[in-house]
């Protein structure tokens, strides 16, 4: 609770929370209601400017209402962000534990594996997966989750090693606690603040990566409204109708910025060295 309160006292924290809440709200609302059917084509009302005929942000070449598409697209964004973060968290924690609390030769091998995987670009991994299994939101989410999970693993490994060297872990061992118990009761709770920060930053990266993959045609199918898909669709008409590209672009930028700032604010709120003494 103190962390939430600390977030509300920082402009970056407020901005990040508002963006996250806005994203959640947009997804929930779009699920039940959008001003127009986001996938319905309407050739009679193509190329409309903002506010024409009740189309808040105008329409594109096929008469898709842009505001409805943005709202509906937020679902893909939120879904990717959350699922990719969860996968990254699980992959990251498991790899970090495998690198630290196991016998030394296993640990050393896992550390090498992490280093190799980190050198591998996430987008490339996603494209390879898409080439093998076909492009879809699922492929993109899995690839993004695993790709960024390795980064989480590297950070978590350092944190676990630091906690493992503390006297209270030694004391717990001297009490007869098993490795599993030490992981559950001492290691994970004590690295949680760092992990939460890392995962909120992973959400920002996941949003960006999903938009990029969909734009390139390796992610969400063009039939499902998504911000990356809108960008891909409208970029051909950039010169004639720049606004159509600006809306989804702005949505991606604001979301990524918001989640990044939320991560930064969380870091400051959870780091006792940066927290004001109260």
């Amino acid at each position: 609770m103190t962390v939430l309160r600390a977030l509300w006292h920082k402009p970056t924290g407020i901005f990040g929370m508002v963006v996250l809440l806005g994203l959640v709200l947009a997804s929930v609302v779009s699920w039940m209601w959008t001003p127009f059917d986001p996938t319905a084509t309407d050739p009679d009302h193509a190329w409309l400017l903002p506010f024409a005929n009740g189309h808040l942000l105008g329409t594109d070449r096929l008469g898709h209402d842009q505001f409805s598409q943005l709202l509906a697209g937020s679902r893909e964004t939120l879904l990717t962000a959350i699922l990719a973060m969860l996968i990254a968290g699980v992959v990251g924690i498991l790899l970090a534990l495998a690198a630290t609390v196991t016998p030394r030769w296993i640990g050393a091998t896992v550390v090498q594996l992490i280093d190799i995987l980190i050198a591998f670009p996430v987008l490339l991994l996603a494209m390879i997966l898409a080439a093998v299994y076909g492009g879809s939101t699922t492929t993109a989410v899995v690839a993004i989750g695993i790709g960024f999970g390795v980064n989480v693993a590297r950070v978590a490994r350092g944190e676990i090693n630091a906690v493992r060297g503390t006297d209270y872990v030694l004391a717990a061992q001297a009490c007869g606690a098993s490795t599993g118990r030490i992981v559950r009761r001492h290691l994970l709770p004590n690295i949680a603040p760092t992990l939460i920060v890392q995962l909120s930053l992973t959400m920002a990266l996941a949003v960006l990566a999903e938009a990029a993959l969909t734009y390139l045609g390796y992610g969400t199918s063009p039939n499902t409204p998504s911000w990356g898909g809108m960008l891909a669709e409208q970029q051909a008409y950039l010169a004639a109708r720049p606004l159509l590209v600006i809306w989804p672009g702005l949505a991606v930028v604001v979301t990524v910025l918001g989640l990044n700032l939320l991560g930064d604010a969380l870091r400051e709120a959870t780091d006792p060295r940066l927290r004001d003494v109260s």
Binding site: T166, L170, A177
Partner: protein
């Protein structure tokens, strides 16, 4: 009866021999001091006895508890012995408790591990333990977190955790070094009384001769990883000892009673 028997214990870390052929025995009910300057291998001897040396250390020799060899025992078997028959109190009370766990939970941990106590029974026992080690307002303190306690109070918690399962042997690794002098005396008295009451044996590690005489009877002296002398407090008082022990004694006296002309005088 010999409880803990350490024979020819040798510890090597990174090609360097840090404990070199140390042998001594701890009798049932005995309070034995282990003294030596920093880096003489005291703490590593203790960690080797309880099987918690860093992974890169190689250890040879023998550590027997109740005649049972502990060196080379699998971790699972060692975990059953640690906290139950062989427990340890650490030097730094400020870092020896998990900052995120309530005091009561940490007190109850060894009981939950070794005695299989239910949550409720363990909580009740935690309050008793807190009371036994002289923590004020135990009902309230078990619900608190380590940062709400002073150093002396935290060391009391550490002692309560170590003695929760009434182990046969307690190893105390400089338990008072990090505390101020008045608190030191209280903790030493508490440690002595509780060890007596439970009939446990105590291996008390320190580099401070002044605190020893009030706690222990026997004494082993370590220097450069080797055991130089096994003696007792009475013999020390009569001036029969090894040159290394004499050196430690002289330093202790110099620190306690600084004289203007003495170049080794502490301030």
């Amino acid at each position: 009866m010999t409880l803990l028997e350490i024979t020819d214990l040798t510890v090597r870390i990174g090609g360097k021999t840090v404990v070199d052929g140390v042998s001594f025995a701890l009798e049932a009910g005995e309070r034995l001091g282990m003294i030596g300057e920093s880096g003489s291998g005291k703490s590593l001897t203790a960690l080797a006895a309880i099987g918690l040396l860093p992974e890169e250390a190689t250890v040879t020799g023998s550590v027997r508890l109740h005649g049972r060899e502990l060196l080379g025992l699998p971790d699972r078997a060692l975990a059953k012995i640690r906290g139950e028959q062989l427990a340890m109190v650490f030097q730094e009370p400020m870092t020896a408790l998990n900052p995120l766990m309530r005091i009561g939970k940490q007190l109850a941990e060894p009981l939950r591990l070794h005695r299989g106590l239910s949550r409720g029974a363990a909580r009740a026992r935690a309050i008793e333990l807190a009371d036994k080690v002289g923590l004020p307002d135990p009902d309230r303190i078990v619900r608190g977190f380590p940062h709400q306690l002073s150093g002396g109070q935290r060391q009391r918690v550490g002692i309560a955790i170590a003695l929760a399962c009434e182990p046969a042997v307690l190893i105390a690794d400089e338990p008072t070094t990090a505390l101020d002098v008045t608190v030191q005396a209280e903790i030493l008295a508490l440690l002595r009384d509780l060890v007596d009451e439970q009939g446990a044996s105590l291996l008390f590690i320190t580099h401070d001769l002044a605190v020893l005489s009030s706690v222990v009877s026997g004494l082993v002296v370590l220097a450069d990883g080797k055991l130089v002398e096994r003696t007792d407090i009475a013999a020390l008082a009569h001036g029969r000892h090894d040159p290394h022990t004499a050196e430690l004694l002289r330093a202790a006296r110099a620190a306690a009673f600084p004289t203007p002309g003495d170049p080794d005088a502490g301030s």
